[in-house]
């Protein structure tokens, strides 16, 4: 990757992280941990990968993005606002009555949101449906969805995976955010959904394992996914929950808790450093 491209992606990821902290702090609730863990891949998706146009958010030929782990909506809203789908000032209305930014994504309210999602396990199925619809219509758009590692405890994730492989949905790219923590504690202790790579392979996916904070690896994985024919791709992405804010990193307590004013300023100072 060219240095200038890396720098601009790092800058976008940093802005997304700043937005996440400000959104969740303003809402006084929300999910910073899992939002921060996907900030880098969201930067790559909306900075490079997705064929989307903020001026034409409903274009039938656009690529689709489904945040199946919808509680990490702050990361999606941040990426959409940075991309210009709606004004950045709106980000701090998150979770407030009358806001277009619901606690979990709502496709009927927010420009750029392709699916109302967040009840875990459902989004990946609808992403597969979108991919199938693209095949039926003979369109070349691609569908990307981020699924949580805790979310993959839901049986429907595997029903959807079976379906995607059965219908050879090579226009579908599932990104598994393997940050290792869920609400009640470490995944390995609560309900071990690992091994993910082997499971997706057994279900018929092409699987790529990467470090979800390394833009070179992210770019390589997305480029490889586009060359795979006849099967869907899963990118199993090892991440750090809370990435970028040292006191939130790998702390299960920051799954679904907002920073107070002091914590917010500390987080922003770190991100702006």
């Amino acid at each position: 990757m060219e240095e200038s491209k890396r720098k601009s992606l790092q800058e976008l990821a940093r802005n997304i992280r700043i937005d996440i902290v400000e959104e969740v702090a303003a809402a006084k609730s929300g999910h910073p941990g899992g939002s921060l863990s996907i900030a880098d891949v969201m930067a790559y998706l909306y900075g490079v990968e997705l064929r989307v146009d903020p001026k034409d958010p409903k274009n039938p030929d656009r690529d689709r993005f489904v945040l199946s782990k919808g509680h990490c909506a702050p990361a999606l809203y941040a990426a959409l606002a940075e991309k210009g789908f709606f004004p950045k000032e709106e980000l701090t209305t998150l979770r407030k009555l009358g806001s277009r930014l619901q606690g979990h994504p709502d496709m009927t309210l927010t420009p750029g949101v392709d699916l109302s999602a967040g009840s875990l396990g459902l989004g990946i199925s609808s992403a597969a449906g979108m991919a199938l619809a693209g095949k039926i219509a003979g369109k070349d758009y691609r569908v990307y969805t981020i699924v949580g590692d805790g979310e993959s405890e839901e049986g429907q994730v595997w029903e959807a995976s079976m379906f995607a492989a059965h219908y050879k949905l090579d226009n579908l790219c599932v990104i598994l955010d393997w940050n290792g923590l869920q609400i009640d504690g470490p995944i390995a202790e609560v309900m071990n959904s690992a091994p993910h790579k082997e499971k997706f392979e057994a279900f018929g996916f092409h699987v790529i394992s990467i470090d979800g904070h390394d833009f070179d690896q992210i770019e390589k994985a997305f480029n490889e996914a586009k060359t795979i024919k006849g099967k869907p791709t899963a990118i199993v992405m090892k991440t750090v929950k809370g990435k970028g804010v040292s006191f939130m990193e790998n702390q299960v307590g920051w799954h679904g808790k907002a920073p107070n004013e002091e914590q917010k300023l500390a987080a922003l100072a770190e991100l702006n450093a």
Partner: protein
């Protein structure tokens, strides 16, 4: 009475009949032979997608397809479409108000010998609570076909309730018209009104004839659209005939009886009795045996009419 045809047969055939006129795809969950979507599968294999035995996934997949502007029929037995996949129907389809048409067959106890695990007497209750969901429970094959077309042309989520057992065709007449959300006054009367839906509509007509011999004059209203329900026809029936009996192949809790009661108590409270599954599970058996055992027959409707008329 004329021929007997199961509404599920009419459903499968209607999908074929409307395939050239309208653009839609059909999903099923390994029950195409039973839901009769197999007719469509054979005629239009490129527009049919089996989802296997995974109804929750099927509903969310249907939603995903519908986001691209395509209308989708998703079929299974009522137990799995409304029961197993309730949350997917609510969150994936209902909440974003997508054009998914749920073709639920094998509703009620006329599933027969398969028994209670497959006899869904709760689906209307479940679907009624989803905002924006339209629910149609056709009385016969003619109405079933009309309901399928109404589902295709209606914008938004739609629940179609079909039965396994063959039922008399009662709407085979040149002037038949189906209006979504409008009840049908099938026969007039002055002493009581039977409000029926689905397979109980023909029973209500039989009950009306029997009661006429006893000197009780009964109006029969067919409510094919359970949501949004036709308040006007119900209020008029209450005011003009004074008492109401509802009849349905569904739990008396949450179904037609509840929907009618909700309208009447707020607008025209009158004595009312309900015929249906009395908050119980079904059992294996033949269809006629089951309908008799659980009290869903013309004679049961007559008995409730006699009782409610005395409450005047």
């Amino acid at each position: 009475m004329a021929d007997k045809i199961a509404t599920r047969e009419a459903y499968g055939q209607s999908l074929v009949d409307f395939a050239e006129q309208y653009d839609f795809v059909v999903l099923d969950a390994d029950l195409a032979e039973a839901t009769k979507t197999v007719k469509f599968k054979k005629a239009y294999p490129d527009r049919f997608f089996d989802c296997g035995i995974a109804e929750g996934n099927m509903m969310s997949v249907a939603a995903g397809i519908a986001t691209t502007g395509k209308t989708v029929f998703a079929s299974s037995f009522a137990m799995f479409a409304a029961g197993r996949a309730f949350e997917q129907v609510r969150n994936s389809i209902g909440y974003p108000h997508l054009n998914v048409k749920i073709g639920a067959t094998h509703a009620g106890i006329t599933v027969g010998e398969d028994g209670a695990t497959h006899q869904c007497n709760e689906d209307i209750a479940l679907m009624r609570t989803i905002p924006g969901m339209t629910i149609v429970n056709p009385a016969d094959a003619v109405e079933a076909k009309a309901a399928v077309e109404a589902a295709i042309t209606h914008d938004g989520p739609f629940y179609l309730r079909f039965g396994r057992a063959a039922v008399p065709v009662i709407n085979d007449r040149p002037d038949y018209r189906f209006e979504l959300g409008r009840g049908v006054l099938l026969a007039d009367g002055k002493d009581a009104t039977i409000v029926a839906t689905g397979i109980t509509v023909s029973m209500a007509l039989e009950a009306r004839e029997a009661l006429a011999n006893e000197g009780i004059s009964v109006r029969v209203v067919n409510i094919h659209t359970i949501k949004p329900i036709d308040k006007e026809i119900l209020i008029a029936a209450a005011k003009e005939t004074g008492v109401i009996v509802t009849a349905e192949e569904h739990n008396i809790i949450g179904g037609l009886g509840s929907a009618v009661a909700e309208v009447l108590v707020e607008n025209a409270p009158v004595p009312m009795k309900r015929v249906g599954m009395k908050d119980t599970y079904g059992h294996s058996g033949s269809v006629p045996e089951l309908l008799k055992a659980y009290g869903i027959t013309p004679e049961d409707i007559c008995e409730k009419v006699r009782e409610v008329v005395k409450m005047k």
